[in-house]
Symmetry: D2
Subunit: 295 residues, 4 copies
Amino acid sequence: MKVGFIGLGKMGSAIAARILGAGHAVTVWNRSPDPVAALVAKGAVAANTPEDAMQGDCVLSMLASDAAIQAVGLDGALLDRAVPGLVHANLATVSIEFARQMAAAHAARGLGYVASPVFGRPDVAAAGNLILVVAGAPGNIEKLGPVFGAVGRRTAAVGTAPEQANLFKVAGNFMIAAAIETMGEALALVRKGGIDPAQFHDVLTNSLFAAPVYQGYGKLIVTETYEPPGLSLRLGLKDIDLARAAAGALQVPLPLADLVHDHFTEAMEAGLGEKDWASVASVIAAKAGLAPVQR
Amino acid sequence: MKVGFIGLGKMGSAIAARILGAGHAVTVWNRSPDPVAALVAKGAVAANTPEDAMQGDCVLSMLASDAAIQAVGLDGALLDRAVPGLVHANLATVSIEFARQMAAAHAARGLGYVASPVFGRPDVAAAGNLILVVAGAPGNIEKLGPVFGAVGRRTAAVGTAPEQANLFKVAGNFMIAAAIETMGEALALVRKGGIDPAQFHDVLTNSLFAAPVYQGYGKLIVTETYEPPGLSLRLGLKDIDLARAAAGALQVPLPLADLVHDHFTEAMEAGLGEKDWASVASVIAAKAGLAPVQR
Amino acid sequence: MKVGFIGLGKMGSAIAARILGAGHAVTVWNRSPDPVAALVAKGAVAANTPEDAMQGDCVLSMLASDAAIQAVGLDGALLDRAVPGLVHANLATVSIEFARQMAAAHAARGLGYVASPVFGRPDVAAAGNLILVVAGAPGNIEKLGPVFGAVGRRTAAVGTAPEQANLFKVAGNFMIAAAIETMGEALALVRKGGIDPAQFHDVLTNSLFAAPVYQGYGKLIVTETYEPPGLSLRLGLKDIDLARAAAGALQVPLPLADLVHDHFTEAMEAGLGEKDWASVASVIAAKAGLAPVQR
Amino acid sequence: MKVGFIGLGKMGSAIAARILGAGHAVTVWNRSPDPVAALVAKGAVAANTPEDAMQGDCVLSMLASDAAIQAVGLDGALLDRAVPGLVHANLATVSIEFARQMAAAHAARGLGYVASPVFGRPDVAAAGNLILVVAGAPGNIEKLGPVFGAVGRRTAAVGTAPEQANLFKVAGNFMIAAAIETMGEALALVRKGGIDPAQFHDVLTNSLFAAPVYQGYGKLIVTETYEPPGLSLRLGLKDIDLARAAAGALQVPLPLADLVHDHFTEAMEAGLGEKDWASVASVIAAKAGLAPVQR
């Protein structure tokens, strides 16, 4: 397939490389040139303008925020210059509301739009082990099948309205944040009772909680290792707020998301914005008088 | 070793059978006779009185509540009639405060006391796969080593003060309740957005949340299968309140435990006390207007 | 002064009548004609178009929502046709973000903008007893002084940035909602303990809590009188969400507002949207098993 | 009437003086001698032992805690030496559970017991303006009428079970704590938005919130005046926990009390235990990055 790719951050670069590796023809565009060169070295074609990436069978984008998507025109002007019939897979985690706007902007121009946020970090992407959560018209999802198959180990089609994939993703991110909150509180409790938190973590994550989220984030908390961030607390708060906004729009009480939001806000004020989002545990511990907030 | 065993509910019976199977001499006592007979058939000796179970190298007890422990005199009168040097391993989840009282009552009589609550259900116990969380004087824990080895796949010695094992256990139970709350909220959110909750559960518990707690309780919630209860909501609330009491005594804010307590209380009033504690998710869903509360 | 007035709902009509009564020349506009006729009978001039109301010394508007303000063009098109030097006093409770947009839209056209939300209900307005919370350029506030003096018993100038008046107002509304939540919980507690809630309310609101909020809303709760609504629960939720949005933007944790939001959301799902916002107390009572939710 | 009085702290001394002033014969006892002398100077008789205070028509006690009540034997031994028919009015705020124990201990000995906690501080007591919340057998309450009349401006009989008066009182104290929390959050919000908190407080407490609780505690928060304490944060937390315990026993969710408990716990850890309980507002402000915690 002829594939365009816009947005070559760490995740985008890893994903684009997977698609190249599966034998597709990939035209890449990025605001800054270095990531482009790295992919050209692997066989990609460098787009001169974003428009060049809009002329194949499909285009995938991985841009950091609604603003970045708007800046490149993927919500409007750039779509006007796309080849007819193009299908766009947006890999980013965006708000439900923006997902709806994007879907409408594509539909108005006869273009396909598939929301396809992913679970996984860059190293997972490089290994082809992402999970893709996709939603959109079944025909469009089917068309993207070969590309999605190159990107991840599983593609879950979760609905026909694109925003459903984003809702699925923000609900999943909420669960991660809730697990961080849970460990933060439980570890504060046992620590104050004189129990070794590393042992507590070891016992639980080798039994009932033997899952990557608890093993990985728990270890960060126990060892107070919050740099470099996997996901920064600032971006983590943004994700929680996406869940809260979705809950508000759907009229679903989400008190645990509120609790997490409040602790993350407090952590922002404590100067932890650029640390890993697991660092909120240091704020939770400080409430119990346990340790100075990590800065 | 000569082992006494008091309290032959489902868990107690399964554990006593493991000890018998490891070749120890076990004298069992229970308030009602049927479980005694079942173990005698496997080679145990029936005690005529609880006192008979207090004459060996050690005694293990698995009684349902502080009141049951007091009723049999294990916090006082029965201890007066124990053989000198006896070590008592209390397998039950009790409050921090009661654990301290028990430790003092044993120390005053020169008896050993090891708090040894377990993680796992009766079927796990029968398979010898429990995790024992133990705390007490190192010599006493060592003495019980062969028995603990027959009971579980892992014995974690977490402190020298018996109540530390109970704190460890209630913190673990709090984490389970928090995971139930988390799934309850996340599933309500995606359901209201038109996403199949079973698919959401499937994707998450085969990746980031691939752990027994999320797989098992999540399945109960998705299928709304709350009978028969693994742990009843009523007893689940008791466990949460043990965590809250410990947090109060140690002066640790535990807002997530408070949130869970409030939802469980509401579920009690909705008539769910004897359902599985995962049924709190039906109350959470009802708040979002999603379904009638399961009764 | 020559005063324009746009938006003649109950509050708007009462306020416009006060201004007329103080001897000012008032040109009124409203989407529907009946309230216009009522004010013309009191001496007002009927505007043929909203534009006619934009030609005096100042214009006051009292429109129900951001959408209503946009529909009439007060955020743009209508401003283009205003007489130079006009000062606009917006009496509505709007979001901080929209207040900023409004201020910028006026500034861009050389018009004055004073945010001037009010505390009080229509009967309070009719009696001239409103409290006006105003923010904007001091010169503009001063210019509006005679009009404000006719409207309320007190004008509190709280800042030079218009959105500060809106922040002040949403913080005040949050306090009212918090008082309703407080009474809902306290009354549920005493009721379940067999205490007469009317007596509890009477004792407290004749001593420590002898304030209109507790006296008035408390009485509604005790007598379960939620119709007709003073402020509907639906609009109350909107106000709480304005406070939450402001808190999010300013990075201030506001857990009590979150709690109230969740209970109001639940009450919306229970069908109470058009009842008085004090009816959230019936949802709080139902959690304690006390009474069926009022519908 | 012949009245005994046990416990001459600030409140006790002020109340005993009122009873003396109304012409009753008062026999007073206190652990330390100075307050006794002060009341003897006003006409009281000094008791040599607590027993001496138990020989009249009634005895009132104002002791600081359950432990103080137990230390003097008012839950048992001292009651054995009371004159037959004595009625005891316990003015202290005790737990529901302890109130039940006290009632049973008196009933078992044929003595009357009236729970009679008060709203008001020592200066209010000295002026005879307390509000007494009383519960017990109607005959006993009636018998105490002349004494209660001398003590307060209002006696509210709220139930026949003594613990009901204590429930009433802890629910009232919860409302005060909730008002402090509310002001803490609202003031943090407006302060961060650049609004003068003193002005915010002034406007609100001269209108909708024109009540002593908001006027008094709000002023402490606005001026950050937390010493000397009216009620210390440590004792305030104890009161909140009484409300939470009552809520737990009655199975009433009380999420706002939980929120307050968590903030008070955090404030304890921040070293504010001996400051006024309004100082929790400084912790709330610190979460928003507003000010260092007051120490």
